[in-house]
């Protein structure tokens, strides 16, 4: 209640509110997630919870988490209910970039800060925290073209058709491939951003092809699986095709040189010197959105659109962490021991300069650092 009044006051008088906020009632912040059935969403929600539970935020934020599932109508209703329940700020993983516009507009008009992470909300009063999806598609495609020496046949595995993220990444990559006459796209599978789907779709693609017919792979999710499938088909680890794809820990471990010493590795979740570029929408974007929301409630100015640095890791820059603390990641490591991260599909791009509260255990189990 007081937090809510304060939020209004803070907005009105600007930065002056920051000092008062320290010993006032905590802010009511709600999280509306879309779906919790995959690793990325689970990690993102763990990191948000960890931030809210950290020393810096635990007295300042009351966080309540709700899930809308895949139905945009439900999320509209949920955001509505959150506004009615007295939210100061709502952190949203938007199911649709456009469907939420009217409810977001009305929430803004009632003084609620709406901040979206990973995907975008197009309504101008909402704040967004994302990576540049087109840049991700372009950079990875450029790496692949260079790795292939500018010619050869490429197989693409895309995301969920009809979403803006998938369209932006895929068309940027195709633009790069189109610039090189030597590059042919010989197959395109719909991977739905899932390792399991990527495997069935790749199996369908490879039913009428041999791995030796292909020179390179461009994927949104699925390099880890593609490497595993090549090993099953009897390819030598040195002969793995270059693959531009997701930032899963399984993929990062595969990128380590074959003689690297790691704990708990078992093939295919093992170092094999795979030629890779690994990128991801980092799962810390939700936690950063929460931080920005609190900054905003404190009266600070935050940018309407925060573009996160694209976490790109290649076979040259991959480096194993021992414990996965924030300090250690700051020093440059970007892959985690399989003994600590038992799930190879788990996303490894969890480091943010701005969030020293969050290390490996934040993403794994929702525990802040220290």
């Amino acid at each position: 209640m007081i937090g809510r009044l304060l939020a209004g006051a803070a907005c009105a008088i600007g930065l002056a509110g920051a000092a008062q906020a320290q010993d006032a009632e905590p802010y009511n912040v709600f999280l509306s997630m879309s779906y919790i059935g995959n690793d990325w969403q689970a990690e993102a929600s763990n990191m948000i919870k960890a931030l809210a539970a950290s020393e810096d935020y635990k007295d300042r934020v009351d966080l309540e988490v709700q899930v809308a599932g895949p139905n945009a109508q439900r999320q509209i209703q949920q955001i509505n209910a959150m506004v009615q329940a007295g939210a100061d700020a709502i952190v949203v993983y938007p199911i649709s970039p456009t469907a939420l516009n009217s409810v977001v507009r009305s929430a803004c008009s009632r003084g609620v800060t709406i901040i979206a992470y990973d995907a975008e909300i197009t309504e101008p009063c909402a704040y967004n925290v994302t990576i540049d999806q087109a840049e991700a598609g372009r950079k990875t495609a450029e790496w692949l073209v260079e790795e292939m020496g500018g010619e050869g046949d490429v197989v693409m595995v895309t995301g969920v058709p009809g979403t803006s993220v998938d369209t932006a990444r895929t068309s940027a990559a195709k633009d790069v491939f189109a610039e090189h006459d030597g590059i042919n796209i010989v197959g395109e599978a719909v991977g739905m951003w899932s390792q399991a789907v990527a495997r069935t779709e790749l199996n369908k693609l490879m039913a009428t092809r041999d791995w030796s017919d292909i020179d390179g792979l461009w994927m949104q999710v699925g390099c880890y699986t593609a490497n595993a499938m090549q090993l099953e088909a009897g390819q030598a680890p040195e002969a793995l095709l270059p693959c531009a794809g997701e930032g899963s820990n399984g993929g990062r471990i595969q990128m380590l040189p074959a003689n690297a010493e790691v704990d708990g590795a078992s093939s295919p979740y093992a170092p094999m010197g795979a030629a890779r570029i690994s990128y991801a929408s980092p799962p810390y974007s939700g936690a950063l959105a929460l931080k920005l929301a609190v900054d905003k409630l404190d009266g600070a100015d935050i940018p309407q659109h925060t573009t996160l640095p694209l976490p790109l890791v290649t076979s040259e820059t991959v480096e194993l962490c021992e414990t996965g603390s924030w300090e250690e990641q700051k020093a440059g490591c970007n892959a985690f021991q399989p003994s600590l991260v038992s799930n190879p599909g788990w996303f490894a791009s969890i480091f943010s300069e701005e969030l020293p509260q969050l290390g490996l255990s934040a993403a794994l189990v929702g525990q802040p650092e220290r």
């Binding site: 709700q66 509505n80 516009n101 197009t122 009809g162 399991a196 369908k204």
Partner: protein, 685 residues
């Protein structure tokens, strides 16, 4: 025949009033549940409910309510419409791409009419195939759903576009400022239209067709025309829902409506409409849609953990449907009565099982010594007639694959991939097929698969030895799931769709709670070898599948259990009177289905090396499609596993062909729908 025709006979006022009260029990219960939830919510909420909140609540539930109203019509007519959500997306995409961004004051009646017309167009396609080609509604609308989803992506590849603000002003504004929000007016008009429609000749015929199509035909009703217009009308309502979404969001999203499909079913059944047809109405459905919406608010007010959300929703669905159907004629009270009778009979020693086990059979039931010799065609003709089309279509797809991609008839690689990939659907086809043969439907497969996979990898600890513990536990859990489904259908007398839909939600919650959001662990090496290893170039699971298929054909075709399944599916009453313990048969098919789903969960985990939570999502609709394309009747009693196996291979071969081409996803979806449609046209009697 139906409740409708009774009304015309004048009766004493009191009796009629009581009768009409009883008839609308479900609607009244839905209204009470809604009012109760609203009260609870406003009690929990720190702020009083303002007009503004009511206005928002009204617009939040309107899309589901309008689309579900269309679904209600189809279900009353005895059908089933899977294309509802896809049509909502299509209309949203059409409006958002066709409207001129410079024109802020676009004509609302014109664009509403365009939206409704697009919906009616799709509805007419559904209606044509269901009514005039006499194809099964569930397959027709499934095929149309794929086609419409493809078309939508062709029209609009990515969210965006423009919908004039004048639409929002009309649909989301106020009819009476401060008193009546526009969405409520729209729904009010819909209810009035329904009350009028019910009393027209068409309305009466709609109920007649739904309760007994043969009788309706015999009394001279033009049942086909009625069915056709029902689908068209329903399409128009999905179109209106699409118009509403467009107004509400001010733009387009090609996936906007797809997730609406299951909520519309939930709204329809909560509102008291009987699945199978002949009873129900739009007012109940609208209440059902708003109950679903207010639950979202309640979960928030009660701060229910996200993991428990689907469990809580399933509970609301079950309670609302159960309360709406309780009466002394309901199956639950019948079962309780029977139990009491059986108990009393046992005390008096009258129970059949207590009599001396002498042979009481009458002489004429003795099998005659000389059975007439049946020719091959007499014996197997009907089975072949229904099982062959899937295999013929498969041959066509294989030839097409050879022509387009090559490698089909020249090597083993293609066959190995095809057989491994189709094994999941082939296993599901036995369980789902057995359930469909008894006239049911199992919608709990997706999360039964996921829960089993997640349980297995969690328990097994990555070691082969762990399987000795994990497999019995996983199958025991699955058997319990099937038992609960079966008891829900038999003892509570609920529609299989309601029970298994609720079970799916409960299992989703269970899987999330067990795994904490990220499933841990791996499939053990033996399982991975089964799915990805090689024995003389053949993936081992293929050998397993050959044995599985042989056993499945024997189980359904050559055992007492199999014959009971067919008997129950053809007529539960006749089977029961012939001494088949129909309740046990129905419970067993749900257990069989859950066991098959668990097996698929385990194999999928072996295939991918690990389990993931969403891994069952892509198997629900295909599992139904495979069974029906394989020649089974969705209402039960007809079908053969050999046909379903052909269906599984056909669908997988089709997907493999489409995946191998460079066609955009939108075209693939359209093609996939067309092939399903062609396969069922070939099945036409």
């Amino acid at each position: 025949m139906t409740d409708q025709t009774v009304v015309s006979t004048p009766r004493a006022g009191g009796l009629t009033a009581l009768r009409s009260l009883k008839r609308s029990q479900a609607v009244i219960v839905a209204a009470l549940v809604f009012a109760g939830l609203m009260l609870l919510n406003s009690f929990l909420s720190p702020y009083p409910l303002s007009y503004f909140d009511i206005s928002f609540l009204a617009s939040g539930g309107a899309t589901t309510a309008i689309a579900a109203a269309g679904q209600t019509l189809v279900i009353i007519s005895g059908g089933f419409d899977l294309s509802a959500g896809a049509v909502v997306s299509l209309v949203n995409a059409v409006l958002a791409t066709a409207m001129d961004p410079a024109n802020m004051e676009a004509s609302v009646p014109l664009w509403t009419a365009i939206g409704i017309a697009v919906g009616m167009g799709v509805g007419a396609v559904n209606g044509f195939f269901v009514a005039f080609m006499r194809l099964q509604p569930i397959v027709v609308t499934l095929a149309v759903m794929f086609i419409v989803q493809g078309l939508t992506l062709l029209i609009m590849a990515t969210p965006g576009g423009f919908v004039a603000p004048s639409m929002a002003a009309v649909y989301l504004g106020d009819t009476l400022p401060g008193l009546l929000p526009a969405p409520l007016t729209l729904l009010g008009v819909l209810i009035l239209a329904w009350l009028w429609l019910k009393r027209t000749a068409f309305g009466v015929a709609l109920f007649a067709v739904g309760s007994d199509p043969e009788a309706a035909r015999a009394t001279g009703l033009r049942t086909r025309t009625v069915t056709f217009f029902t689908y068209m009308l329903a399409g128009g309502l999905y179109g209106l829902a699409g118009v509403f979404v467009s107004a509400q969001t001010g733009s387009g999203d090609p996936l906007a409506g797809n997730a609406l499909l299951l909520p519309t079913f939930a709204a329809v059944v909560i509102g008291g409409t009987r699945l199978g047809g002949g009873k129900g109405g739009i007012p109940g459905t609208i209440l059902g849609a708003y109950i679903l919406m207010i639950v979202v608010n309640l979960l928030l007010s009660l701060n229910v953990s996200a993991y428990y959300a689907t469990i809580a929703e399933s509970a609301v669905l079950l309670i609302a449907v159960l309360a709406g159907s309780l009466s002394k004629d309901s199956p639950l009270s019948h079962r309780l009565g029977e139990l009491k009778d059986a108990f009393a009979a046992r005390r008096k020693g009258w129970l059949v099982s207590q009599r001396a086990s002498a042979d009481h059979r009458l002489a004429f039931t003795q099998p005659s010594g000389t059975a007439p010799k049946l020719t091959f065609m007499q014996r197997y003709g009907a089975t072949l007639r229904h099982a062959l089309p899937a295999w013929l279509c498969l041959v066509l797809v294989l030839i097409a694959t050879q022509l387009v991609l090559g490698g089909v008839f020249t090597g083993w690689r293609y066959w190995d991939a095809l057989l491994v990939l189709s094994s999941f659907l082939a296993i599901l086809a036995l369980g789902q097929g057995a359930v469909i043969l008894t006239g049911g439907l199992d919608l709990s497969l997706p999360w039964c698969i996921a829960l089993s996979g997640v349980l297995m990898t969690g328990l097994v600890g990555g070691q082969d030895a762990g399987l000795l513990v994990a497999l019995p536990v996983v199958f025991a859990v699955a058997a319990l799931i099937g038992l609960a489904n079966g008891l829900g259908v038999v003892a509570l007398g609920l529609s299989p769709i309601v029970v298994t839909l609720a079970m799916n939600g409960i299992l989703q919650g269970a899987a999330l709670i067990w795994s904490g959001g990220t499933p841990a662990g791996f499939a053990p090496p033996a399982l991975r070898w089964l799915m990805t290893g090689k024995i003389l170039g053949v993936t081992p699971v293929i050998l397993f599948m050959i044995a599985f298929a042989a056993l499945a054909i024997l189980l359904l075709g050559r055992t007492v259990f199999g014959r009971h399944v067919y008997a129950v599916g053809n007529s539960a009453l006749a089977a029961r009177l012939s001494g088949v313990r129909s309740g046990r048969v129905i419970v067993s098919v749900y257990i069989l289905s859950a066991l098959c789903a668990a097996l698929v969960g385990i194999l999928l985990a072996g295939f991918s090396g690990q389990a993931s939570l969403g891994m069952g999502d892509d198997y629900l609709l295909p599992s139904i499609a495979v069974v029906v394309v394989g020649g089974a009747l969705i209402t039960g009693g007809r079908g053969h596993y050999a046909g379903m196996l052909g269906g599984a291979l056909l669908l997988t071969a089709m997907q493999t062909l489409l995946a191998g081409t460079a066609l955009p996803f939108a075209f693939r979806s359209v093609f996939f729908g067309l092939v399903i449609l062609m396969a069922v046209i070939a099945l036409r009697e």
